[in-house]
């Protein structure tokens, strides 16, 4: 058995402890996941709009987007963006008289790649959320004389959110876990830091357990936040038994 006390020192905040590095990496995981989530949200909103209200070409494009991106592994998307992207940029840079290497950093690539994939899932979540809103509510808003923007702000946005939030919470958890794949770009997020720590100290077990705990803390905390948000989105709903259980 590995010496527990030695492992605690290793993961602590002393001069030989990796605590600060691990916390920094956890913050990086959170930052890149949040950025990816925002990108995914934008793509998702666009995709859902295209599927629900777009013309045929937009609808087809959105259909292709969700089919392709949900059907290929995320790791492949990251490789494509990271290596493919830098080759394109370098070629473009040289075409315009530049020299050397042009490329996106690991954070940007990770944000775009994971964001693009999560956007495909988000499209479906938001589309289903919209379809769950009773038609009568939208008709009532129109009857009351609301303009498009006002209706979007007062009726559609809060109502879609109320139905889509559980799904959106799932997409967030997925983004958080898929952010581990960004480690292949060399970005020092939590997964890469665990690998570095394990390979540098040869106490792999301590770092794996620590990573386990940190990821679990992140996902548990996110669960709490999303449940609170869900509760808030349900304000004003009739309190049917079980509905406000959260």
């Amino acid at each position: 058995m590995p010496d527990i006390l030695a492992s605690l020192t290793l993961l602590g905040f002393g001069p030989t402890g990796w605590g600060l590095q691990l916390l920094r990496a956890t913050a990086m995981t959170l930052a890149v996941s949040m950025a990816a989530y925002v990108v995914g949200m934008a793509f998702g909103a666009l995709g859902a709009w295209a599927k629900l209200a777009g013309r045929a070409p937009a609808r087809l494009l959105a259909e292709a987007y969700t089919t392709v991106l949900r059907g290929i592994p995320d790791l492949l998307v990251i490789y494509l963006f990271y290596f493919g992207g830098s080759q394109v940029l370098t070629a473009l840079g040289h075409a315009f008289g530049g020299e050397g290497f042009f490329g996106l950093n690991g954070f940007t690539v990770g944000m775009l790649a994971v964001g693009t994939v999560s956007g495909a899932y988000q499209t479906e979540v938001l589309r289903a959320g919209f379809l769950a809103v009773p038609k009568g509510e939208i008709e009532a808003a129109r009857m009351a004389g609301m303009g498009r923007l006002l209706m979007l702000r007062r009726i559609i946005f809060p109502r879609v959110l109320r139905f889509a939030l559980p799904g959106m919470g799932n997409v967030w958890q997925q983004v958080l876990k898929e952010s581990t794949l960004i480690s292949v770009t060399g970005l020092v997020e939590l997964m890469r830091q665990i690998h570095i720590g394990a390979g540098s100290t040869h106490d792999a077990f301590a770092f794996y357990v620590c990573g386990f705990a940190l990821y679990l803390a992140l996902t548990t905390l996110s669960g709490v936040v999303f449940r609170a948000w869900e509760g808030w989105s349900l304000r004003g709903e009739p309190r049917v038994a079980g509905r406000m259980a959260a």
Binding site: M1, P2, D3, A6, P15, T16, G17, W18, L20, Q21, R24, F43, L46, G47, A50, L61, A62, A64, Y65, V68, L69, V77, Y79, L80, F81, Y82, F83, G84, G85, S86, Q87, V88, T90, A91, H94, E99, G100, F101, G103, T116, S183, V184, T185, G186, V188, R192, H195, I196, G197, A198, G199, S200, T201, H202, D203, A204, F205
Partner: protein, 282 residues
């Protein structure tokens, strides 16, 4: 925006030769970016403050001083290290990378700066604890054949762990295919854990790496056994990985390594980090 990934894929394929061609132009080397893995002590790793440390970090500093260039050493995941070099993200790789014919199809190498034999690590109380120990050059075909004949019945049906895409994995595939069950791992850490857990009967790796296996918690129950393999498909040792086009940089590194071997710098660093001399034979 939505079509971006597919567009990118097509564009990447279309301009890939252009991007590579653009780098072929000779350039005056003043600064060099060197990639290392940063997670393979004692070759290369990080300390608790996040600084790169290890044998190759010290060696890189020494070689760069000899070449009179400014070097910037960056950590890069092992999986993307060769594509990253060819994409131009950095100019050289110093990451305990063995010089092999397969890798030489895609990149070039300087002359080797270390050569460490490969061997098995087993549990002291395990079924393979008494594998015969000897030195074996795979360049000597008769000796290799005789050794394989002796080892095959001993290893028959045993589970051997090895890191994926390594020269040791090639060795198992070439000489012991069919006789043993090979289990591949993404990292050496993982096969060490499985050796101690009893899930594999032995692991095969470089002796320079096993120095750290024996030193870590639980390592006192592990021992090295079997032949010390060198040569043949194990290659000539580890060298600096470079783009095919940069032959000038290759010559610079080779000259600097020769000088560092001649004045004993590599031996000194090797003793400091590995407790044993793993300078290449000549």
């Amino acid at each position: 925006m939505i079509r971006l990934p597919r567009l990118l894929a097509l564009a990447a394929i279309a301009v890939a030769p252009l991007a590579l061609a653009a780098q072929a132009s000779a350039k005056d080397w003043k600064t060099i970016t060197i990639a290392t893995e940063g997670a393979f002590m004692p070759y290369n790793g990080h300390d608790a403050s996040g600084k790169l440390v290890g044998f190759e970090i010290d060696l890189a500093a020494d070689l760069c001083a000899r070449m009179k260039v400014t070097c910037n050493v960056v950590a890069q995941d092992w999986d993307g290290i060769i594509p990253g070099l060819n994409a131009g993200k950095f100019d050289a790789i110093m990451a305990a990378m063995s010089i092999t014919p397969k890798r030489m199809d895609v990149i070039n190498f300087s002359r080797p700066y270390t050569q460490s034999p490969s061997t098995f690590a087993v549990m002291k109380d395990g079924p393979l604890a008494n594998l015969p120990v000897s030195r074996l050059s795979l360049d000597d075909e008769a000796a290799t054949e005789a050794a394989v004949k002796v080892l095959t019945p001993l290893l028959k049906g045993k589970v051997i762990g090895v890191q994926v895409s390594t020269i040791q994995a090639d060795l198992l595939a070439k000489y012991f295919k069919g006789a043993i069950e090979v289990r591949t791992y993404k990292t050496t850490e993982e096969h060490d854990l499985d050796l101690q857990a009893g899930r594999v009967d032995a692991v095969i790796g470089s002796t320079s790496y096993f120095v750290s296996t024996l030193a870590k918690p639980g390592g006192d129950k592990v021992k090295l056994a079997g032949p010390l393999f060198t040569g043949g498909l194990l290659g000539k040792g580890a060298g600096v990985g470079l783009r095919k086009a940069d032959t000038d940089l290759q010559a610079m590194f080779t000259t600097a390594i020769s000088a560092a071997l001649a004045d004993g710098t590599i031996k000194k660093l090797s003793l400091q980090w590995f407790k044993t001399d793993i300078s290449p034979a000549n």
